[in-house]
């Protein structure tokens, strides 16, 4: 029974994942007084790509071919670890918050390899920068994960997401730090820019530049799913789950996603992308935030 409800939750998360990106884009366009495409545009993009033929570089190896499958399946596997909108609906005994952070490493490692595989300088540049940014994000992610776990005495995501009435100064600061992790990991402004295809500034997009058709669709779907996972975690730390029925919690979940989308969209339109070494300062700032949250936890607030 539990496996079915877990599966259902994962399917819902995967299905609505592209919608979140569509909503963010719509909000951004409206804030900029533009009309923009509808919120279901990401679905159209994905289905267009899924039906398209692929062009693969002659220089590539099997790493390039298996990467989209590994990226998508590891991201879907990560979904099983996360309670999205009800408690008790993640796969038990597989992993905790720290494992989740490690699981994202699988997709990143293979994407970076695939970037190098096509013998293009753009891909290499993207891989190098992605690994660089992720190395700096990692301590922030782990430290803020540890702080929110300290609040409940467990690193289990179920416990963290179900921590009703446990909102403290430390968990708020840690959530802000996690939010900066979210920005960096989902390649958003100011660390990266999803919309750019300017060779010298793109990071994530440069890595996947050689992908087309179905493979590109898989990688894009995976980044939508990764985004919804991060949104869910950040939302559930601040607004914990539990205490209401399944439909209400689903409605709350959508509301939480909308709030975070508005914040992300607002940051995206009000800032410019930082150049790579300014992003270091940004991530340094978020590390300071996570240390502050640890200090706050230590003095008991």
């Amino acid at each position: 029974m539990r496996i079915l409800s877990v599966l259902l939750q994962v399917i819902i998360a995967v299905v609505i994942a592209p919608l979140v990106s569509g909503v963010i884009r719509k909000i951004k366009n409206n804030m900029r007084m533009r009309k923009g495409p509808g919120i279901v545009q990401p679905y159209f993009n994905l289905s267009k790509l899924f039906y398209k033929d692929e062009v693969v570089s002659r220089n590539t190896s099997w790493i390039f071919k298996i990467t989209p499958y590994i990226v998508l399946s590891s991201t879907i596997a990560a979904c099983f670890l996360v309670p999205f909108f009800t408690l008790g609906n993640s796969l038990p005994r597989v992993g905790d918050f720290l494992v989740l952070i490690f699981v994202f490493g699988i997709a990143r490692f293979f994407l970076a390899l695939a970037g190098l595989d096509a013998a293009s300088a753009f891909g290499g540049m993207g891989s190098s920068r992605e690994m660089f940014i992720s190395a700096l994000v990692e301590p922030v992610a782990i430290l803020s994960a540890i702080v929110v776990s300290l609040n409940v005495g467990s690193t289990s995501l179920e416990a963290i997401s179900g921590n009703l009435g446990g909102l403290t100064v430390s968990s708020v600061i840690a959530t802000i730090a996690l939010f900066t992790v979210l920005i960096a990991e989902t390649s958003r402004i100011p660390v990266d820019n999803q919309e750019t295809h300017l060779e010298l500034t793109m990071i994530h997009e440069a890595m996947v530049l050689e992908y087309s058709g179905r493979s590109l669709a898989m990688i894009e779907l995976a980044s939508h799913i990764k985004q919804i996972i991060f949104f869910a975690i950040v939302a559930n730390v601040i607004f914990p789950l539990g205490g209401c029925g399944i439909f209400m919690s689903f409605a709350f979940f959508l509301a939480k996603l909308l709030i975070i989308s508005v914040i992300v969209a607002f940051i995206e339109i009000s800032m410019a992308k930082m150049r790579l070494f300014r992003a270091v300062d940004f991530l340094g700032f978020s590390f300071v935030l996570s240390v502050m949250s640890l200090v706050a936890k230590t003095i008991g607030i």
């Binding site: 494992v99 013998a119 416990a159």
Partner: protein
């Protein structure tokens, strides 16, 4: 007391047996590998010499970890050092090998001197070299002396372990030996230093003060960072792996240090967990670093170079080596579901629980160490994306690499064997963790039969933090996920047509391997962001046809070896300078020498009748 009337009996307690297992686990594939590796590379005479040294090397390592008394330990330790010196200088026609050997033998003997001093001090108290009586004597020593012994042991074993700042010999010596020896040196020889620390500091000396743990943790964290930073910058594949060994020794000692700290803080279960995580990483590092060094050896054998800037595209030419190296790279980067992931997760759990149970500044200290582990983990992933990506992917960057051939069967077998082990040690984590818990409980001397860190032998389970991690379930999910995704997409969208074309070249002419991203370029962001430590500098040279036209442009970038420049070079200069001063005493005049003898005799007479 007759100093030579010593007991040659051996000791096989769980601590010794664990290390013997690790040594044998890696010796087996290394031996098989060496057959293929040495063939056509060395003369038959050299091959015989290699086997003699190889057997002596393994034997001395086993003797080190199974000696029952300190004297035998020292003898075995010295044999191990000397044999490994001869193995480092195995290519004795190369100037570099001799130089590396010299640095190694000097550094290792400085370490041995400290260990010998400490053991002699212990002997003075215990009147025996037997471990039991020394342990007894250590209980009644004054605190100051115990501190001194700790420092001596830590410097001595830290030198062998390659802990910063005593690490400088490691990146010279390890790459220079033949690859199967490099894999043994990095995989197991430096682990004997961990054995030394556990045996002499934790078991025999007992934990004295809290600052011991702080010193171990601090230097271990520094080693993690320094090791991986230099590994990222390096383009020599074997030196890169050697620097990464410095990092991994740091991670292992973080586990040991945390164990010591928690024990002193009266948290025995956490101490057992932290030490078990350290031991787990120790055995994992032996497996994947052994594997990576064997892979590097295969690459060297096939291409004749160790410079990864000259490699590329080897995945098509050496498919088996590529898969094995990839598994090694994945597990050293702590990618689930391989073994490196499990040990790093356990270590993070240990520090999380430390932060949960300790108060005040300790909480922050634990959190910062966890962040440090995460940073080095991220940098290690970057480093091994570089190592694998530049070496195996894209197009070959030199003629030699284009003609590379896959290595022979024995070498492949050795690498596949270790790859399988790397996968198994991830999937079977709960079993291994249970065994390691018993071993570390023995080392620390607490009873933890009530605590089990596993659930149904599927998930590793930490009851204190209610946290699970299961590599086997994750692996199943990944495999099922790939199958599901592939079939779902196939049935939903049909078969897709894949056509091949050249890489996007911005409408330029055809791309060649000269347009690829290089290893130096890959590490550039790291070099700039961490320039406060690396202090990079570059040399550029323009070769001109005429004033207006630059024919070619040479660009070289270097990083300042901070420890060599600011610690070792000044010391070395001081030694050389004082030796130069001393030389003035020896001008070659026999009259002066007779005067010296005369003065010495008078001084001796005064000395003898000084009372």
């Amino acid at each position: 007391m007759n100093y030579f009337n010593i007991n040659f009996s051996l000791l096989f307690d769980p601590l010794s047996l664990f290390f013997i297992c690790v040594i044998l686990l890696l010796s087996f594939p290394a031996a098989i590998y060496s057959v293929g590796y040495l063939k056509n590379h060395y003369s038959p005479k050299k091959i015989v010499l290699n086997w003699v040294l190889f057997v002596l090397f393994i034997g001395s390592m086993i003797l080190v970890v199974s000696a029952r008394n300190a004297f035998l330990f020292l003898v075995a330790w010295e044999i191990m050092s000397l044999v490994s010196y001869f193995l480092v200088t195995f290519d004795s026609h190369e100037q570099k090998a001799v130089r590396a050997g010299t640095i190694y033998i000097v550094m290792t003997h400085i370490g041995t001197a400290f260990i010998t001093a400490a053991i002699l001090i212990m002997f003075k108290y215990a009147n025996s070299f037997e471990f039991e009586s020394i342990k007894h004597a250590c209980g009644i020593m004054p605190q100051g002396l115990r501190n001194l012994l700790f420092v001596c042991f830590f410097i001595g074993f830290g030198t062998k372990a390659g802990i910063v700042p005593m690490h400088i010999w490691l990146p010279y010596a390890h790459p220079q030996a033949p690859s199967h020896i490099s894999s043994l040196m990095s995989g197991v020889m430096i682990k004997t230093a961990v054995y030394g620390i556990l045996r002499f500091i934790v078991v025999i000396l007992g934990i004295g003060s809290l600052w011991w743990a702080n010193l171990i943790l601090g230097l271990a964290l520094l080693s993690c960072f320094v090791g991986i930073m230099y590994a990222l910058m390096d383009n020599d594949i074997k030196r890169l792996l050697a620097y990464s060994s410095v990092e991994n020794m740091g991670i292992i000692l973080l586990g040991v240090g945390a164990g010591v700290l928690f024990l002193k803080m009266n948290l025995p279960i956490l101490a057992v967990l932290a030490l078990a995580a350290g031991l787990y990483h120790l055995i994992n590092h032996a497996i994947f670093k052994g594997l990576l060094f064997l892979g590097a050896g295969s690459i060297y054998k096939a291409t004749g170079t160790r410079d990864i800037e000259k490699m590329g595209g080897l995945i098509k030419l050496m498919p088996v080596t590529a898969v094995c190296f990839l598994i090694g790279a994945l597990s050293i980067s702590a990618i689930p579901p391989l073994n490196g992931f499990m040990s790093e997760w356990l270590l993070l759990q240990a520090f999380f629980l430390g932060a949960l149970n300790l108060m005040g500044g300790w909480k922050i200290f634990m959190g910062l160490i966890a962040a440090g582990i995460a940073l080095t983990g991220g940098l290690a992933a970057g480093c091994f994306v570089k190592a694998f990506g530049i070496t195996f992917l894209s197009l070959p960057r030199s003629k030699k690499t284009e003609n590379a051939k896959e290595v022979s069967g024995g070498m492949k077998f050795a690498m596949i064997f270790l790859s399988v082990l790397a996968v198994c040690f991830g999937l079977l984590a709960p079993f291994i963790l249970n065994i390691l818990t018993k071993i570390s409980a023995f080392i620390i001397g607490v009873d933890v039969t009530a605590v089990k860190f596993s659930f149904n032998n599927i998930s590793a389970f930490i009851p204190q933090s209610n946290a699970y991690a299961s590599a086997s379930l994750l692996a199943t999910m990944l495999i099922l996920g790939v199958i599901f995704v592939a079939t779902f997409i196939y049935f939903a969208f049909g078969k897709s047509k894949v056509s091949s074309a050249s890489t996007w070249d911005c409408g330029y002419y055809n791309l060649t391997s000269r347009n690829e991203y290089t290893s130096t370029a890959f590490s550039k962001p790291f070099r700039i962001a961490f320039s406060f430590f690396l202090k990079p500098y570059k040399k550029t040279e323009k070769i001109r046809d005429s004033f207006y036209h630059v024919k070619s442009y040479k660009y070289e970038v270097f990083t300042t070896p901070v420890f060599k420049r600011y610690i070792y070079d000044p010391i070395l200069n001081l030694v050389l300078k004082s030796a130069g001063q001393m030389r003035k005493m020896q001008p070659g005049s026999i009259h002066l020498y007779i005067a010296y003898i005369f003065i010495a005799v008078i001084l001796l007479i005064i000395f003898m009748y000084r009372i």
